[in-house]
């Protein structure tokens, strides 16, 4: 067990290290000077701008050699300081991201969990039910191939504008102030529904197809036939098959996390939902490298943490891994 997790942790740390290095390097080697960019927006006269140039250069830590900037970056990272935003100077990047993360989490966690659960359940049903198979499978193929922002725009137009049932922008109404009142929570959910459903539907399609294929495979395996021959109830056979089929799906979830995160980003842009995706687009359009760097860092950490959780789940779910670890091989 320890060797298994020890190895995993080493891999995660080296991945984190490599990814963060790339994340740090990209803004540094892109063309453009963030200090000049910031100064141009302040519209200062030349004399005042000169006085501020050296301050800004120091404020962004750009006055030391590159290798020292790299070390300073790691140092600041462990203090939770992701730097200062150029776009929203003098706000700190960490402040901006912290305000955006709850919206992202609110969108992603239910979408991932519910689409995984519902998709797999329906996929399992579809494997042995001809009518469901003929409807869900094509639907699933279409859904999983749909780009996130296209579905988002379609839903915004049909349900938001034409039908007018749901609002299609912002996290909560302009007349509301965040509070724990029922009115605000309902308003929040009302605005949350469309971005959530566009993430949910695409995930649902993908999992349904995968599960349907896995279940068919499992139900044709030797142990299934044997159980049926023994006269076991269909439900029991299905239950065993489901357990075996879910394993590749969990692996698939780990692999899909990156795609789901990026899908959430573009969905947020479509619905102006104030999560990290919204800030990434703002940062790119305004050449705010530090905000961009901080957002990507957050995504990297998020994906790695989610992967780690899935690895733990994998251990608890799959007894072969558990026994294999105890046996000394991993």
């Amino acid at each position: 067990m320890r060797r298994y997790f020890g190895r995993k942790i080493i891999i995660y740390i080296s991945t984190f290290f490599l990814a963060v290095t790339i994340d740090w390097a990209i803004p540094r080697f892109m063309p453009g000077n963030p200090v000049v960019n910031l100064l141009s927006r302040t519209a200062l006269r030349a004399e005042s701008a000169q006085a501020m140039y050296s301050y800004y250069t120091r404020a962004f830590g750009l006055d030391v050699p590159v290798w020292k900037q790299y070390l300073n970056f790691w140092n600041a990272l462990f203090h939770g300081d992701l730097g200062t935003s150029v776009l929203l100077f003098p706000q700190k990047v960490a402040t901006i991201i912290m305000k955006a993360v709850p919206y992202d989490a609110f969108l992603l966690i239910p979408a991932i969990l519910l689409s995984f659960y519902a998709g797999n359940k329906f996929g399992a049903f579809a494997a042995r039910n001809k009518w469901l198979d003929n409807t869900i499978l094509p639907l699933g193929y279409i859904l999983t191939a749909t780009p996130y922002m296209w579905l988002g725009i379609l839903l915004a137009w049909s349900l938001g504008i034409v039908a007018g049932i749901f609002p299609f922008a912002s996290a909560y109404s302009f007349s509301m102030v965040p509070s724990f009142s029922l009115a605000f929570i309902l308003d929040l959910l009302h605005h949350w529904f469309l971005p959530f459903i566009s993430l949910f539907l695409i995930g649902f399609g993908g999992w349904a197809i995968g599960m349907r294929n896995m279940i068919i495979y499992e139900l044709e395996a030797d142990y299934s036939h044997y159980l049926e021959a023994l006269g076991a109830p269909r439900g029991l056979v299905r239950k065993y098959a489901f357990r075996n089929a879910i394993l590749p799906q969990i692996t698939g979830l780990a692999l899909q996390l990156g795609v789901i995160f990026s899908g959430a980003l573009v969905t947020e842009v479509v619905f102006s939902y104030p999560g990290i995706g919204y800030w990434i687009l703002q940062a790119i359009q305004n050449q705010d490298y530090f905000l961009l760097q901080g957002c990507f860092l957050f995504i990297i950490i998020g994906v790695l943490v989610a992967n780690f959780i899935i690895d733990i789940i994998y251990v608890t779910v799959d007894p072969r891994t558990r026994i294999g670890m105890q046996g000394g091989s991993a």
């Binding site: 891999i11 991945t15 490599l18 990814a19 790339i22 453009g32 000077n33 000049v36 100064l39 141009s40 927006r41 302040t42 519209a43 200062l44 006269r45 030349a46 004399e47 005042s48 701008a49 006085a51 501020m52 301050y55 404020a59 935003s85 776009l87 929203l88 100077f89 003098p90 706000q91 305000k99 299609f168 922008a169 912002s170 996290a171 909560y172 109404s173 302009f174 007349s175 509301m176 102030v177 965040p178 605000f184 990156g258 795609v259 995160f261 990026s262 980003l265 573009v266 102006s272 104030p274 990434i280 687009l281 703002q282 790119i284 359009q285 305004n286 050449q287 995504i299 990297i300 994906v303």
Partner: protein, 610 residues
């Protein structure tokens, strides 16, 4: 190790996917074929024979330009620009190819349309000009850094004198990064001296200003270092669903500029709020803010909130109202009547050519209860003296000291003052409280967030209501003007919305969810005609004029350094199409001098042959 490799790959893939998606929208170039160019070949050979006569005529009156592609082709031909390789675009007299771009920031949809028209009409005259739309950051980097070819921009604002806008168009001295104007790096000592001279003319000396401006305009119209094209409008469309009595050109309506943009609150926006009347019978609704007490505006804040510091000029567009609603200026300026309105100052006058006496109004209180006195005004102005990074610190080159005569009277002493700059700053320099700011360091003053801001104005910043896409202002019950001037702002709350797009804004204003939109809404002319929304003018141009959109030409690049080429370019631009097609009649063509209609008396019409 394989897993590390796979994961790094996955991360790189995510990054590149997101970046690719976001970056794919920029730098669109369109090429148009010029079918008419073939017919110009015959015309240019005929015009070439009269070359000698036309070059002499070009320098004579009348100066100026208007859309005339034939004149453009003639000027090009006379100056030696010929199409030698048959691609319907002229080459330089020395034979080198010409390939220029015209740029505007990506996402500014009206400008993107406009540069498409510019590009097409220039190409029709034989000038190889292609339109491109980089991101705003890249656009300004190229503009200020002097690496652009030609770019649209509109420095300058409604002002009480033409000096501010000339100081922008002909900003000097020329340095490596030109942030405040003269992006094309036009270098003309005679002109710069004239502008410096203009700055030192008193604002009240209309004849004196006209004399200097006439000389400036003669140089500008002869050399054409930039091409004024049209007047951008003060985009304002409003709904009468919840609030009424908006400013319009009709009789019996208020005449304040209904604009919530940063710098416009003190040019009429605040006054408009005092004139509004709530519509009878509007339900409060179920939101936290009662509908009948709240004014919803959009187009005021252009980006996410970053700070409440009135001395950081560049970010005030994101918290529009910080200057005007929260912090106030000694005077206000009404561009429609060309009058300075005493505000925090009760009066101000030059008691001798080097001394300005300002009397501060008594009875003004900051929002924390402390009185606003001459000490606050003196402190604010002296921030520019103590901290060179403050934006108005260059004023101290000619300000020498500020003497506090008594608690409510100041005498500001000058040597060789630039009257025009000082006068312009009287309605642009916000006064901050000395008792709160006195111990702040230069870094805090110039870059601090200034949380929990204390101001003297009609509204206070509502930090609780602030969200990622909205700013909220709440009425200040102790505002001084309620007693002193009998003014009362009608809405109890202002919610300033950052909408995600123009179509969203349009939908909201039609439904009455936004009361005043200061966004540019393409096609709104039709809705105004049908009566769904209202604007200042009931017919074209519908909107008041805000500033002049000019095509800046980079004079450091060939062939833009040739005045004849620039003139030809000016004649080739179809400004009529920009107004009718790109803007659907929401703007007006600019006077060739570029001065706004409110400064009409300073346009030397004799130069234009009128």
């Amino acid at each position: 190790m394989k897993k590390v490799f796979l994961w790094s790959l996955a991360v790189i893939m995510v990054i590149t996917m997101v970046a690719a998606f976001s970056l794919s929208g920029c730098n669109t170039t369109t090429t148009t074929e010029t079918a008419a160019a073939a017919t110009t070949a015959a015309a240019t050979t005929a015009a070439a024979t009269t070359a000698a006569a036309t070059t002499a005529a070009a320098a004579a009156l009348p100066l100026g330009f208007s859309y005339n592609p034939e004149t453009a082709k003639k000027i090009l031909a006379d100056a030696g620009y010929k199409d030698v390789d048959g691609d319907n675009f002229v080459e330089a007299p020395d034979g080198s190819k010409i390939a220029l771009t015209v740029t505007c920031p990506l996402g500014w949809s009206d400008w993107m349309e406009a540069i498409r028209v510019i590009s097409e009409s220039a190409q029709a005259a034989g000038i190889n000009l292609k339109n491109e739309t980089p991101d705003y950051g890249a656009f300004t980097t190229a503009l200020f850094g002097g690496t652009f070819d030609t770019s649209l921009y509109n420095p300058g604002n409604l002002a009480n004198t033409p000096w501010t806008v000339y100081n922008a168009w002909f900003n000097h001295p020329i340095v490596e990064t030109m942030q405040n104007g003269n992006y094309g790096r036009y270098d003309n000592k005679e002109l710069f001296d004239l502008i410096d001279q203009l700055g030192k003319v008193s604002v009240d000396d209309v004849a004196g200003i006209q004399a200097v401006v006439s000389k400036i305009q003669k140089i500008q119209l002869t050399d054409l270092p930039y091409i004024p094209l049209w007047y951008n409008g003060v985009w304002a469309q409003f709904s009468n669903a919840v609030w009424t009595n908006w400013s319009t050109s009709a009789a019996d309506t208020p005449k304040d500029i209904p604009c919530t943009w940063n710098e416009y609150w003190q040019r009429g926006g605040l006054m408009q709020l005092t004139e509004l009347k709530p519509v009878e019978g509007v339900e409060p609704g179920t939101g936290t803010y009662p509908r009948n007490e709240t004014l919803y505006v959009s187009g005021a804040a252009w980006g996410a909130y970053s700070d409440s510091n009135p001395l950081i000029p560049g970010s005030k567009a994101n918290s529009s109202g910080t200057i005007g609603l929260l912090y106030e200026t000694p005077f206000m300026y009404d561009p429609l009547t060309d009058k300075m309105i005493p505000w925090l100052a009760e009066s101000g006058s030059w008691i001798d050519p080097n001394t300005y006496e300002m009397k501060i109004r008594q009875g003004i209180k900051w929002s924390d209860g402390q009185p606003l006195t001459a000490e606050d005004v003196k402190f604010t102005y002296e921030l520019g003296k103590n901290f060179p990074s403050v934006w108005f610190s260059p004023m101290w080159k000619y300000m020498t000291e500020i003497v506090k005569v008594d608690d409510y009277t100041l005498q500001i002493k000058f040597t060789d003052p630039i009257y025009q700059e000082f006068s312009y700053n009287l309605f642009n320099l916000p006064i901050v409280p000395e008792h709160i700011w006195k111990n702040r360091t230069e870094v805090e003053v110039s870059t601090g967030i200034n949380e929990n801001p204390v101001g003297s104005g009609a509204y206070l910043w509502d930090a609780k209501g602030m969200g990622p896409d909205r700013n909220v202002w709440v009425k200040n019950p102790n505002w001084w003007a309620i007693k002193a001037l009998g003014l009362n702002v009608a809405p109890k709350r202002i919610v300033d919305i950052r909408t995600s797009g123009n179509n969203v804004t349009l939908g909201m204003i039609l439904k009455g969810e936004i009361d005043l939109s200061n966004n540019f809404l393409p096609g709104v002319a039709e809705l105004i005609n049908k009566g769904y929304v209202q604007s200042y003018y009931p017919k074209a141009p519908y909107m008041l004029s805000a500033n002049t959109a000019c095509l800046f030409l980079n004079l450091t690049k060939k062939p833009l350094d040739d005045p004849a080429f620039r003139k030809a370019l000016a004649f080739s631009i179809n400004t009529g199409d920009i107004v009718n097609v790109a803007y659907a009649n929401l703007v007006q063509v600019a006077n060739p001098t570029g001065l706004l209609p409110s400064l009409d008396k300073y346009i030397d019409k004799t130069l234009l042959g009128q």
